[in-house]
């Protein structure tokens, strides 16, 4: 699959660290800080996952949806594109692009069910469908996304580490709480996750990593980014999320 990735639009569109996680001028005016932006993205990635669990779509769709979501906000502001609508619409679009369409009606039903108490989440089918078109434009119609899951399996087989697959798989899932998918080739993210799992499970893999001839500095960077999520953002106090969300334009 790797040969395929290198020729893909996903590969050509990989971003540097300073191209993600920045705060766009429109959001700065509203007082959103880089920290707020990070919290909102994590919160809404969780929302996408929740919706996906309810609508019973595959993990791959969730991963693609979150990648779309994060890619949109490297160029569009939260003020202009309400993340509470963009998140479910990303799931809707990803379900089509990954060939397991979720009905808009069903999606909207769960949108209302999951976050009915929260203000600003009241959206209807027509809102989702309108946003779908805007989203396609914001993504410049590039829809193919590669994920670390497949290279992960190949790499673990090669390393003889198939016993830790469950652990690594969950770490890969959690990597979508960061912008890593926009910045690194999927197999590098897979390696970063394997690295963490090996440390947790106390596996000796230095020799195997050395033979791979990959830039260990990059792998460690990826691992650090994921560890930062585990340390600081795994259980975010609700007040902090609410404070960040309150800075978004309020819908009437």
């Amino acid at each position: 699959m790797a040969a395929n990735f290198w020729a893909s639009s996903h590969c050509k569109k990989l971003l540097d660290a300073d191209e993600v996680g920045h705060v766009l001028p429109a959001d700065q005016e509203r007082g959103l800080t880089p920290e707020d932006v990070k919290l909102i993205k994590i919160h809404l990635s969780t929302y996408i996952k929740l919706l996906a669990q309810n609508t019973k779509v595959r993990q791959r769709v969730v991963a693609t949806a979150i990648a779309y979501f994060r890619r949109v906000y490297t160029r569009k502001s939260f003020s202009e594109f309400d993340p509470r609508l963009v998140a479910p619409t990303c799931l809707y679009l990803a379900s089509k692009a990954e060939e397991s369409t979720v009905q808009a009606k069903l999606l909207v039903f769960y949108m209302k069910k999951i976050l009915s108490e929260e203000k600003g989440f009241r959206y209807e089918i027509k809102d989702v469908l309108e946003m779908e078109m805007r989203l396609l434009e914001a993504l410049d119609f590039y829809l193919v996304i590669y994920h670390p899951y497949r290279p992960l399996i190949q790499l673990l087989q090669d390393a003889g580490l198939t016993d830790i697959i469950q652990t690594v798989w969950s770490i890969v899932n959690d990597s979508y709480r960061t912008d890593l998918i926009l910045m690194y080739p999927p197999f590098m993210i897979a390696l970063g996750c394997i690295y963490i799992a090996c440390v947790i499970k106390d596996k000796e893999t230095r020799g195997w990593f050395e033979e791979l001839r990959v830039d260990m500095y990059v792998i460690k960077n990826i691992a650090m980014e994921i560890l930062d999520f585990y340390e600081n953002y795994r259980n975010i106090p609700e007040e902090r999320i609410n404070a960040a969300m309150a800075k978004l334009p309020q819908r009437s």
Partner: protein
């Protein structure tokens, strides 16, 4: 993509035709002065947003860029409709094959096959299966370049307006493993179809014209002999395998008396029964047929059918069958194409079809092909094909999901 996009960039010209999911216009790109074909995708039932098949085509064509693949120049929404802008194509290979005024020399055939295989090799390199290879999906540009078109326009589980699909038409290009119900087919299915096109270029008529799936296999075995276990070991394990009476293979030379040795060698490798033995599109391009005499004709020197007068074509002329496209590893691709399904897809070439209007019918209007095509559009084919009920559908869908799940990357 250009710097600007959207409605203002194009000067709308005449309508080229209307299909089930949109209208096609000829237009001029203000930025480049190029003639383009703009396909306006109608939003179906407003409740499900952007048409999935259109989305599939956009998704794939954004990843594919090659001189022998149709260029998706731009996509833009306007008044809630999505517009796809393609390069304008003058003709297609079907029109060339049917035009009795065009003599196809050995060099011409080589040129068309080289361009077809180049486009295909690019798809396969990017793990895209075309799955709807046939002469009228191979469009021809004003400079003579042949380009693969119609990516992913057919739906996975069949369209509700099935009476407009020419299931039979695609069948003639269907590889034996598909006819035996293979679920794990790969790029070989496109190579088989390319081989059928190769044969058609020499014969000037479709090579294996089966009237049902069973008959199609019969035609294949009559031409190449019933495969023995040694030729295709996995054959008997295929889901829809049925035993055929043994029939010996006539010499290939007897079917293509004018062909050179190199030509027959390549053709037989592309028509290998066992998909694991069948030559790949890339290997085919490296075959000595393409380096031996005569050299392939330069594309701009290839003769093309005369341009047709413009005007809306008959709806029946716009219809062609489809086969969905998957973006997944070839070895594990799931079987989708055997499902009835199709969609009207037409861009540049509908212009050509315009000539088939009554009154303006040129010599092509009278060709046996056009005549034979009309009865095929009636429901006879649908009667043969079982209709999928909702239980089957959800069963298939589950299986499909499971296959795809195990394919995750």
């Amino acid at each position: 993509m250009g710097k600007s996009s959207g409605e203002g960039r194009y000067i709308k010209g005449t309508s080229l035709g209307e299909g089930t999911y949109g209208i096609v216009f000829k237009a001029t790109d203000r930025q480049t002065g190029r003639t383009v074909a703009v396909k306006k995708i109608r939003l179906g039932k407003y409740k499900e947003g952007v048409n999935v098949t259109a989305l599939r085509e956009i998704k794939l064509l954004k990843e594919l860029r090659d001189p022998n693949i149709i260029e998706l120049i731009d996509v833009y929404p306007h008044k809630r409709n999505l517009h796809l802008v393609f390069e304008f194509m003058e003709s297609d290979l079907e029109a060339v094959i049917r035009d009795r005024n065009i003599v196809l020399s050995a060099g011409d055939i080589k040129s068309y096959m080289q361009m077809t295989l180049k486009g295909l090799a690019h798809c396969h390199k990017k793990w895209v299966l075309h799955r709807d290879m046939k002469p009228n999906n191979l469009l021809i540009a004003a400079d003579g370049q042949l380009k693969l078109a119609d990516f992913g326009l057919a739906r996975i589980f069949g369209s509700p307006d099935r009476r407009f699909t020419h299931q039979v038409f695609a069948r003639w290009y269907r590889a034996p493993e598909l006819l035996f119900g293979s679920k794990q087919y790969g790029a070989g299915v496109d190579v088989w179809a390319a081989a059928c096109i190769f044969a058609e270029l020499m014969l000037r008529r479709p090579f294996l014209q089966g009237s049902s799936d069973i008959d199609q296999l019969g035609k294949i075995f009559a031409a190449f002999g019933t495969p023995r276990e040694s030729q295709w070991p996995d054959m008997t394990a295929l889901p829809d395998y049925v035993e055929y009476q043994f029939c010996p293979a006539p010499p290939l030379r007897s079917l293509f008396p004018m062909a050179t040795e190199d030509c027959l060698d390549l053709l037989s490798r592309m028509f290998a029964f066992d998909p694991n033995v069948r030559i790949t599109s890339q290997q085919a391009l490296e075959h000595r047929y393409f380096s031996s005499e005569p050299a392939p004709t330069k594309p701009y020197l290839l003769r093309r059918p005369p341009p047709r007068p413009e005007g809306p074509p008959k709806p029946s002329e716009l219809i062609s069958p489809g086969g969905p496209v998957v973006l997944s590893p070839m070895s594990k691709a799931v079987r989708l194409s055997a499902m009835p399904g199709g969609d009207v897809h037409s861009f540049g070439r509908v212009d050509r079809e315009a000539g088939k209007e009554p009154g303006s019918a040129g010599p092509q209007g009278e060709t046996p092909f056009t005549a034979s095509r009309i009865p095929m559009s009636i429901d006879a084919t649908q009667l043969i094909r079982p209709t999928l009920n909702s239980a089957d559908r959800s069963h298939l869908k589950r299986k499909l999901d499971m296959d795809l799940l195990s394919n995750q990357d």
